[in-house]
Symmetry: C2
């Protein structure tokens, strides 16, 4: 049906989240017919990002610079630390107007998959808290069973540290993914956070 | 919010049809977090396709080989030629079970945009018909005002050539794009084609 290079492109496009066979075909042919320069720019942006982007040394979010924009900004509130499961959650929380600092875990605790505290970056979180001057740590892991367990684990770890530990309120739907929640719900959940220990 | 390389990738992803800001963010971060090799493969597939894919010398569809799979296949019906506006239409018609030959115009006649017969490949279509042994030419341009006008123009051009000239039936919704029509409707429209001169 399609020549080999077009078939290869269609297959490669299907690794993008939400892109099925039909969308991939349309994307491939539309780029080829209407915007080859755009296609080449996308190829270059992909290569540069896949090869160049590492992690912010302070909050562990994705960044090719030592400090991500959130960590590098001197005007943010250094007394607040928001702990999330991934970079998309930083974006979601940021959209609510939150202007404290972040720490990005590598997902959540998942003992069955062999993912313990070290695998998800808990030691780095502890080091970040020790080096900082936070008065409150907001545990904004996903409102799933694993996210709750991870928040609980961190809360116990930090109990007695003098920090206020809070969890985003259950305005967020149980079993959902933080990154899929609309901004209003998330803002509400953030405002309604309560101490957990 | 995002580091420069990530922002650049998000912007580049937005050239894909149907991809808005939010999908582009999710795509960029998911590739970076979960599938960098897939991202690099996609970059390579894009580069190879954008630089390597030309047009089939016989039907003018997109292909990096001299003859596309449809033209190279010796088992297809050489008495039937289906004329469409673009490569996605080849795919749509193919899905109906059609196994004749194709000719792919560069869109439709659009005098206001300065797109006359030569700009859309009518001379090449005439040459293809002369070189072939067709008994019927199916005009499967889009069921839009411009597609109808283009079909009409070709029909007048070929009148008196002894070829049966047919137009796909109006089972396809008026004003629609052929490539968006479901396979069943299109199969029906194809079966219901009628001579137009
Ligand atoms: Zn950072
Ligand atoms: Zn061909």
């Amino acid at each position: 049906m399609f020549s080999p290079l077009i078939r290869q492109l269609i297959d490669a496009l299907r690794i993008l989240p939400g892109v099925g066979q039909k969308s991939a075909q349309r994307m491939a042919l539309q780029l080829l017919e209407r915007d080859r320069n755009g296609g080449l720019r996308l190829a270059q942006a992909l290569t540069q990002a896949m090869e160049g982007v590492g992690h912010c040394k302070q909050c562990r979010t994705l960044s090719e610079e030592e400090l991500c924009p959130q960590c590098a900004d001197p005007r943010r509130d250094d007394s607040l630390l928001c702990v999330v499961e991934g970079p998309l959650d930083v974006f979601a929380v940021e959209q609510t107007g939150y202007r404290g600092r972040f720490f990005v875990l590598k997902g959540h605790l998942s003992p069955l998959d062999g993912l313990g505290p070290e695998a998800i970056g808990i030691p780095e979180l502890e080091a970040r808290i020790k080096a900082g001057s936070f008065s409150e740590v907001i545990l904004a892991t996903n409102p799933t069973v694993e996210g709750e367990a991870t928040a609980h684990y961190i809360a116990q770890l930090l109990a007695g540290s003098g920090l206020v530990l809070s969890r985003i309120a259950h305005g967020v739907p149980l079993g959902g993914e933080l990154e899929l929640v609309d901004g209003g719900t998330l803002a509400h959940a953030l405002a309604g956070r309560r101490p957990i220990v």
